[in-house]
């Protein structure tokens, strides 16, 4: 039942989420792919063009930030799994003692 409930909640969130336009649409210029135009516009939205060195520094900062955030999320998941592992080990030991 829990799986069905989760799937239902997911469907409820996901399908409206598909129809919402959250990010701005990119417009490709002649000779430029849609992807490049979109990525550039998304990166620079509302800001004046920066020198190439500053853009590269910004890009590196964003990459480090994203990596740090994902590592923090991973630490949370790893801690949860490690604690769960310990709890199951303790339960297994208790069960073995009860059987003896």
């Amino acid at each position: 039942m829990r799986v069905i409930r989760t799937a239902f909640v997911f469907a409820l969130i996901f399908f409206p989420y598909c129809s919402i336009e959250v990010l701005p649409q990119g417009v490709a210029r002649p000779g430029e792919s849609f992807v490049c135009a979109h990525a550039q516009e998304y990166r620079n939205q509302g800001r004046p063009a920066q020198p190439v060195q500053n853009q590269e520094d910004d890009r590196q900062t964003v990459l480090y930030t994203v990596a740090a955030v994902i590592l923090v999320v991973w630490v949370g998941i790893a801690l949860f799994l490690w604690r769960l592992d310990r709890k199951i080990t303790r339960l297994e030991k208790n069960l073995n003692e009860m059987k003896k």
Binding site: V3, A7, F14, S19, V22, Q25, V35, H38, W74
Partner: protein, 227 residues
Amino acid sequence: MTILTRGVIKSFYILMPLAIIMAFLWAPSAAVLGDFSRIIYFHVPLAWVSVLAFLVSGVLSVAYLMDKKKRYRWLDEKSYNSASIGLAFAILTVITGSLWAKLTWGSFWNWDPRETSVVLILLIYIAYFSLRSGLSGNEQRGVIGSSYLILAMIMLPFFVFLAPRIYDSLHPATIINADKRIYLDGRMRMTLLVSVLAFSSLYAYIFHLMNRMLSVKKATEDLHAGD
């Protein structure tokens, strides 16, 4: 459990941070897609591991139906565990894929053949969970659920490998393609490999924990029944 098996399962603790660091700080960005392409190191392994989990659930179901003397315990429930992990990974694949689709194709959902086939796979496995919960208390639950999982496993290659290649797809064929060449930079390929191994070990670890919880639950029930 042998030390080797334990090492493989717990390698998740080392492989996952390594994969994250490689994905963001070591691998180059793709030529056309830019830094958005880094989501490939999470999207593709999630998809592969979900297929692996569904295959494991199918194989365990075959073993359950063939094991007439019941030498192996709770195979149907282990296949259920594997299918539930596969479903969770498939949902994460859809979420990462739709984010990537928004950034590269301009829309979260495009009804691309591969997207459509993933929706069908999700529906098939959600139906399995409905079927199984509807049969609680039924003696034939294991047999019916396992038969369903085998049928789902037989259909899986069609949805994963054939359908997206029969029809024109927005998805690129960089790894499995007609040229039989991998169109990925060496560092990108290495990062993808490490990421696939990391997610596979995560799957193995969660599956192992779920099976241990199942054993504890069954042993407790046996103890109470004995009292």
